[in-house]
């Protein structure tokens, strides 16, 4: 009984960690100035946020089959979220989304077309 309570509390800690990551990256969507920085901020919740929510749900509802499914889900999430955010960043580049002023080195600047076409 004691051990089960500890594991359940640990699961809650992981769930709140994941939710905190998602809320922080939602705040980051507002505070960060351009598309690439926003995609970086969403990357934290895509990797760590979802992974720790799934891990917390696993700890709160543990069984052997659930362990297998959760491990596959976490691996799939890590692989596919990288592909998704890379596709979004590349679409932004093809679409001439300019980096913000604060970007101090930009070695792709010469390949962009005129900046105000969308």
């Amino acid at each position: 009984m004691e051990l089960i309570d500890i594991i359940e509390a640990l699961g809650l800690v992981f769930i709140f960690l994941g939710i905190g990551t998602i809320v922080v990256s939602a705040i980051g969507l507002f505070k960060l100035p351009d598309l690439y920085l926003r995609a970086s901020a969403v990357g934290t919740s895509a990797g760590l946020g979802v992974a720790s929510i799934v891990l917390g749900a696993l700890l709160m509802d543990f069984s052997g089959l659930n362990l297998l499914k959760a491990v596959i889900a976490i691996i799939a999430q890590l692989l596919t979220s990288a592909v998704g955010s890379m596709a979004i960043a590349r679409a932004g580049y093809l679409n001439n989304a300019l980096p913000a002023e604060i970007t101090h080195i930009d070695e792709l600047r010469l390949t962009r077309r005129s900046p105000d076409r969308s």
């Binding site: 979802v50 999430q77 955010s85």
Partner: protein, 88 residues
């Protein structure tokens, strides 16, 4: 269950995150900003499903999570395709 109300607090926090992200989706000056916001809303939805599944104790919870994480990037890919006008 020690965690009746903690799960509700978690759902509430997650809803706040989704609302913030959807405001960025409405404001977002360009298509790709909206796509990033929609991506974040999708990840929050996975969290929502997990929490509601824990709350009601359904059996198929991890199957749903597995399908969602396997197919979630298709949304991001198609939005990227939409934003870049078909160019890859």
């Amino acid at each position: 269950m020690i965690s009746e109300w903690t799960l509700e607090v978690a759902l509430f926090l997650l809803a706040i995150g989704m609302i913030i992200a959807s405001v960025r989706g409405f404001l977002g000056p360009r298509t790709m900003d909206r796509a990033v916001a929609a991506d974040l809303i999708f990840f929050a939805t996975i969290g929502f499903v997990a929490l509601i599944g824990l709350r009601t104790g359904i059996d198929a919870l991890f199957d749903i999570i597995l399908i969602a994480t396997l197919l979630g990037f298709m949304a991001a890919l198609s939005m990227a395709r939409l934003g870049s006008g078909g160019r890859r």
